[in-house]
Symmetry: C2
Subunit: 350 residues, 2 copies
């Protein structure tokens, strides 16, 4: 398993359901794209410059003391499993994991703060919080940004705001997103229409791992699509309204699942999913998430299921392939993974 | 629920796994077709004659003392639910249940002996026993036949043997059948080929309720196709060999389900089925039987399932629609039945 993964906690702090609306909002993230003045963006910078930026970034992160007893990891020193683990943990992106550049990430001890180095931008600051917690996540990433900004010369233009490698991030450089669980709206077939309306409102919906990833277990990552023309607070307030609206819609869709004539089918679906998770001997991550979704909804709707959101949320993270291999302490083929996953769930779903 | 159904036992004695090979052979039945000399066959006899035959048959059955504390039921006095109940219990046929003729059935207290009156033939004598028990079932029906034959003039021809309404029954008038559970052969896709071979050997395979009914839960009713040209003992010995061969094939198919590379899939299927039965809130009889089949196979293969053949066999009978209505004590719509079935299984599968 190695030292890198072993240094992370067995359970993910921000996956414990402590924020608001834990039954619908899994987590809230805010990320800020920042670049260093006078240096070329990562995609066009020479390798030596990127290595220098990486050293500077990691030293500066250390200097903020926000990453005390945290993790400072250079991607070229990581094994494929370790990189996959960090992607699953939401600390680095697929892009950074597969990049040949001198990348790095600093992760705080609680795993609620991270700085990715030399991904698309020199710095990607990220704060993640449990539940529906836009203010808390924005506050935390702003403190990190202020600390780093005191020590590093950010590329900033008075007219445009923060300069970024991709024009869609110019301005605030901010993306605020909530990972929302919408099983009832999904079941009612309302998601395609809703996603279209959201996109007209300048809101993007993605799969769990961001751009280009598929939706698993009815979890959607909802975020602002643009960064320019308004303040961070305005973008956040917008997303806050959007998410509050989705919560209302999901709640009313759940109420429709318990009206006479439908109630039994809902309960049947929830408990079949529970029975599958509690008994299967082999289960893929996709099938697992599909059934987790129903059990999670059932727990939210008050069905007598012997589990809790904390357990289910941890499952969603820990049952991913690299996490399973890390737990097993050895490489696993796909069949072995599915068997390990089923065994872990059987043992811990209670 | 009414007196008729209430007089039957809550559990079916012959469904308890007491015979040989209870994991593969559910039950063995022998039936004899008999007719009264000098009377027209039921399909062409006048109503008054059939009523007379019915009285004679029931009185004679009573006189044998084999039906002491048993059931004497005239079909025209039965409600549709009661008739359906008796069909599900294997005491009368669909044909008799839907016939307008003056039909009847006598059933012994243990439900192991029955005489149907005025179905296709004047008399259909039946013996049913748990497991693989051809000798026992033949012995029991022969005793019943001897008793009735002493008191009634059978239509018998020295050259052809017993005369019957349908030429396929002429001769011995005997059909011997085993209800066999072949989940591993079914899963291996070997049943179509096997059924074809059996049919070339003069062996018929049918669904649980006989001719024209479909196969449920991998249960097949295997019986001799002809009645003429050999003795009862020879037909029985033939079927005995056929069934012994099917048992060997099923066992070796089960062994193939636990070789490396397949074992996990088998175990997964068994436990998923168990989880479904233990958790579903609504389940049709077909889906129930499909999952029961896997759980039954799993129990036979030594998987740690908290159940036994007795419970599972009783389920197969008691979870039928009319039995469920009888238990509920009121008419049930299909959705209610599926919910009652799921609730009963959840409660009793342990």
């Amino acid at each position: 398993m190695g030292k890198v993964i072993g240094a992370f906690r067995a359970h993910v702090t921000w996956a414990n359901p402590k924020g608001k609306w834990p039954d619908i909002i899994f987590s809230t993230r805010v990320r800020l794209a920042r670049n260093l003045a006078g240096a070329a963006f990562p995609h066009s910078a020479p390798a030596a410059a990127l290595r220098g930026i990486r050293e500077t970034a990691l030293e500066t992160a250390k200097a903020t003391r926000l990453f005390a007893r945290g993790h400072y990891l250079k991607t070229d020193a990581l094994s494929p499993l370790e990189k996959k683990f960090l992607v699953e943990r939401h600390h680095i992106s697929h892009n950074l994991a597969s990049s040949e550049r001198a990348g790095a990430v600093a992760v705080s001890n609680d795993e609620d703060l991270a700085v990715m180095v030399n991904e698309e931008d020199h710095l990607r600051l990220q704060s993640i919080a449990s539940g529906f917690s836009i203010d808390a996540a924005l506050g935390a990433v702003n403190r990190l940004d202020a600390e780093l900004g005191r020590l590093l010369p950010y590329a900033f233009n008075a007219k445009f705001g923060f300069l970024t490698a991709c024009p869609t991030n110019v301005g605030t450089g901010m993306r605020v997103s909530c990972l929302v669980h919408l099983p009832a709206l999904s079941r009612a077939g309302r998601m395609p229409g809703l996603l279209e309306s959201l996109s007209r409102l300048g809101v993007t919906a993605r799969g769990i791992y961001g751009e280009g990833t598929c939706v698993l277990g009815d979890f959607y990552q909802i975020s602002n699509a643009t960064c320019l023309g308004r303040s961070e607070e305005e973008f956040c307030a917008d997303l806050d309204r959007t998410i509050a609206n989705l919560i209302r819609l999901e709640i009313s869709a759940r109420e429709e699942l318990v009206i006479p004539g439908v109630r039994l089918k809902t309960e049947d679906g929830v408990f079949r999913a529970y029975g599958l998770l509690k008994n299967a001997r082999s289960v893929s991550y996709g099938e697992f998430m599909q059934n987790l979704s129903l059990v999670r909804m059932g727990a939210a709707m008050g069905y007598s299921i012997r589990t809790d959101f904390g357990t289910l949320n941890q499952f969603a993270l820990l049952m991913q392939p690299a996490h399973l291999e890390a737990m097993a302490g050895r490489p696993l083929g796909p069949d072995e993974r599915d068997a390990e996953r089923a065994a872990y769930i059987r043992k811990n779903l209670n």
